[in-house]
Amino acid sequence: QQQVKQSPQSLIVQKGGISIINCAYENTAFDYFPWYQQFPGKGPALLIAIRPDVSEKKEGRFTISFNKSAKQFSLHIMDSQPGDSATYFCAASDQIQGAQKLVFGQGTRLTINP
């Protein structure tokens, strides 16, 4: 059972446009929601993250919007650039034995056309 559902699977956006990726989760025990960015041939890297006590977090062109009651969160990339072309994963976590265990969404392959 997929505990974190991500959509769309792929997304094409024109340079300068807004890219939006959505995720929904089921487990209300999740307490940390990161987004990871993965370029071809590389491992994923943390992009931005949010805790459920805030509704929005912004870092540069990247914003997470969080809706606790709907159990949904989304990544917005403003002024999208060709260098943003990558695969994006949302995730959710809880603590087990002191370790943060992440559950990942299915991933979104983002292509920014120049």
């Binding site: 491992g43 994963f89 002191g98 370790a99 943060q100 992440l102 990942f104 969404g105 299915q106 991933g107």
Partner: protein
């Protein structure tokens, strides 16, 4: 910079072989993880370790085992490789909430 290295970028093995995937981190992190990445399924947790010689099953542990004899090294073992274990394998270590990933090992089982 945190560095997580994996022993091989590409590996080809035959069905029934015992396969070892090695991961080393250089930042003295307590927690280490093994994931497999498949198209349309995202990353799925196989096993993780929160201390030396301590391990916990993840979401898909069947057919795998792990070993952590030293803090910096976490090994994934496929006891008898099968074709459905063909995948990209990613190792990670974590500092508080952030996980740092290696570049991955693409394993093909023929």
């Amino acid at each position: 910079d945190v560095k997580v290295t994996q022993s091989s970028r590409y590996l080809v093995k035959r069905t029934g072989e015992k396969v070892f995937l090695e991961c080393v981190q250089d930042m003295d992190h307590e927690n280490m993880f093994w994931y497999r990445q498949d198209p349309g399924l995202g990353l799925r947790l196989i096993y993780f370790s929160y201390d030396v010689k301590m391990k916990e099953k993840g979401d898909i542990p069947e057919g795998y085992s792990v070993s952590r004899e030293k803090k910096e090294r976490f090994s994934l073992i496929l006891e008898s490789a099968s074709t459905n274990q063909t995948s990209m394998y990613l190792c990670a270590s974590s500092w508080y909430n952030e996980q740092f990933f290696g570049p991955g090992t693409r394993l093909t089982v023929l």
